[in-house]
């Protein structure tokens, strides 16, 4: 084992993993995280906490993850390169490890113009692939990028994201290959609604043999309404929501739409489980975390393995 990560054990033992995501609060109240955590106990193998997603300031991922750790989770720290140069990244990597974190998801991060502080100076000293290299080198070689030795190297199970649906499509498996070459251990994908296209992506991934080198968790997000589906289709870059999905929601009466959204999500998970090379599912229920237990249960993913 490369780390003390529970997620690593689940995946290594060949279980179909279930992870979810928790958006931290826009305030200093730890109870918000605890409440979300309590809802998810026993239903997932790990919880990601986002790092100022869409560049909107929230409680830090590391701090939120510590709160989840106190509840017994082995959370996944998300870390973007938008806000930290390599000095701050190394320092936070050490700090997160010291606080008992075992999983780190390496991302570049949404551009700051999306958030509340569009006037901010961005950093992007490294990109996500270079961050993977950095964390791996710190873990496996026990050195900083400077080459200097680390006293007590941080042992992370290293994750990254992959978006199979953003242009240029044909390059996306190659970019995943670069993340694998950089040393990533697990991948969580962008939300999948277009399963046909995702299957084509996975065909390419298997041709490159990547599914044998990295654990791929397929991302899903339950849609609350036809309105949300339309919004994501139209406004979220790199998101592919087929018309059939929008129609299925729109055809249902308004009060039935959340249930249809959950049903679509459950069906998607069933189909994703059949794809060779998919090692788990990552459920991103955006400000709808309370529905995750139901989704996991209806998808037949209970009980979660004791590892």
């Amino acid at each position: 084992m490369k780390s003390a990560s529970r997620l690593e054990r689940v995946l290594t033992e060949g279980h179909f993993a279930v992870t979810t995501e928790c958006g931290p609060p826009r305030g200093a109240e730890p109870g918000v995280i605890r409440k979300k955590g309590e809802l998810l106990k026993g239903f997932v193998d790990a919880i990601n906490v986002t790092d100022n997603q869409t560049s909107v300031v929230r409680m830090s991922s590391i701090a939120s993850c510590v709160i989840l750790k106190e509840l017994g989770f082995d959370p996944i720290v998300q870390m973007v390169t938008r806000d930290r140069n390599r000095i701050a990244l190394q320092s936070d990597i050490l700090g997160a490890a010291a606080l008992g974190m075992n999983n780190l998801l390496c991302l570049s991060g949404d551009h700051q113009t999306f958030g509340d502080d569009p006037e901010a100076k961005n950093v992007f000293d490294l990109d996500s692939i270079q961050l993977i290299q950095l964390v791996k080198r710190m873990r496996d070689e026990g050195v900083f990028p400077s080459g200097k030795k680390i006293e007590g190297p941080p042992k992370f199970f290293i994750g990254a994201a992959s978006n199979p649906f953003a242009e240029p499509f044909e390059i996306r498996p190659l970019r995943l290959a670069k993340k694998v070459e950089a040393g990533v251990d697990f991948i969580q994908t962008q939300c999948i609604y277009n399963l046909d296209r995702f299957e084509k992506f996975m065909d390419e991934v298997r041709k490159l043999g990547l599914h044998k080198e990295v654990k791929i968790l397929a991302g899903v997000t339950p849609l609350k309404s036809a309105g949300m589906a339309k919004f994501m289709k139209k406004n979220v870059a790199g998101m592919d929501v087929p018309d059939a999905v929008v129609k299925r929601l729109a055809d249902a009466p308004k009060e039935q739409q959340p249930e249809v959204g959950i049903q679509i999500c459950v069906e998607s998970i069933a189909r994703l489980r059949q794809i060779e090379g998919i090692a788990g599912v990552h459920i991103m229920a955006i400000e709808w975390e309370q529905k995750v237990p139901e989704i996991v249960e209806r998808a037949g993913l209970l009980p979660r393995p004791q590892v």
Binding site: R82, R86, S108, G109, D110, H111, T113, F114, N122, F124, D125, L126, D127, S128, I129, Q130, Q133, L134, P145, A161, S162, N163, A166, E167, P168, I171, L174, R175, A177, K178, E181, A182, Q190, A237, G238
Partner: protein, 223 residues
């Protein structure tokens, strides 16, 4: 070339409020080409300032001049005979020009009439676009002649990120083509897509502004 854009006239008038006798200095270099700070712009801006000040009942005397280049000492020196007769210089050269004039005339306030924006090209008449960030360590041979630092909104060395739109645009704006999409297209056309498979390592930013203000010394020329 170095691109500039004239500041709003209101901002210029506010800067000039304490003065009633100034030099308005243009530059025949880059800012002439990008139609922001050449002789013609000196004339137009000079007239606008005079009119505005007359309307305010505070006429201003303006000496209009356009230097060959404000970034070379011999041309900046040409102002020496008369500069001390004026209260300030309003320069509509790039930021380098403004500073060089200030450096040479220690007791005269030098005000910027332009915002210096980027190193770029004339895409077509009236449209200019950024191409270079002067990072000091060129990788264009690896990226198909398209710069990831200047053309990707996140300056990613191993893009594209997940935010490329269906139209091949950047997540930041539909007016920005995804730099990495351009790189990949170009590498494909050049039959050099293998370049994409290689991970570009962490960049050393010391050659960029991050190493502090930069200087080039050519011993062969300083003699």
């Amino acid at each position: 070339m170095i691109m500039g854009q004239q500041k709003p006239i209101r901002a210029i008038l506010d800067m000039l409020a304490p003065y009633d006798k100034i030099v308005l200095a243009g530059c025949h270099g880059c800012v002439t080409v990008c139609r922001a700070g050449g002789q013609k712009e000196v004339e137009i801006l000079g007239s606008a300032i005079r009119l505005a000040r007359e309307a305010e009942g505070r006429p201003i005397e303006i000496r209009e001049v356009t230097l060959e280049r404000q970034c070379d000492p011999e041309y900046v020196e040409t102002m020496r005979p008369y500069v001390q007769d004026y209260q300030a210089v309003l320069s509509i050269a790039c930021g380098a020009g403004v500073q060089f004039v200030a450096e040479k005339y220690q007791t005269t306030p030098v005000l910027p009439g332009l915002d210096t924006t980027f190193i770029g090209v004339t895409e077509k008449q009236g449209i200019w676009a950024e191409r270079c960030q002067a990072c000091g360590d060129c990788v264009l041979h690896l990226t198909g002649g398209i710069c990831p630092v200047a053309r990707c909104s996140k300056s990613l060395f191993n893009g594209p990120c997940g935010g490329t739109t269906a139209e091949g645009r950047c997540e930041v704006s539909k007016d920005i083509p995804c730099g990495w999409m351009l790189i990949i297209e170009r590498l494909r056309n050049l039959n050099m897509l293998d370049n994409y498979r290689k991970i570009l390592p962490m960049k050393g930013w010391r050659t960029s502004r991050d190493g502090g203000p930069r200087r080039i010394v050519r011993e062969d020329l300083t003699q």
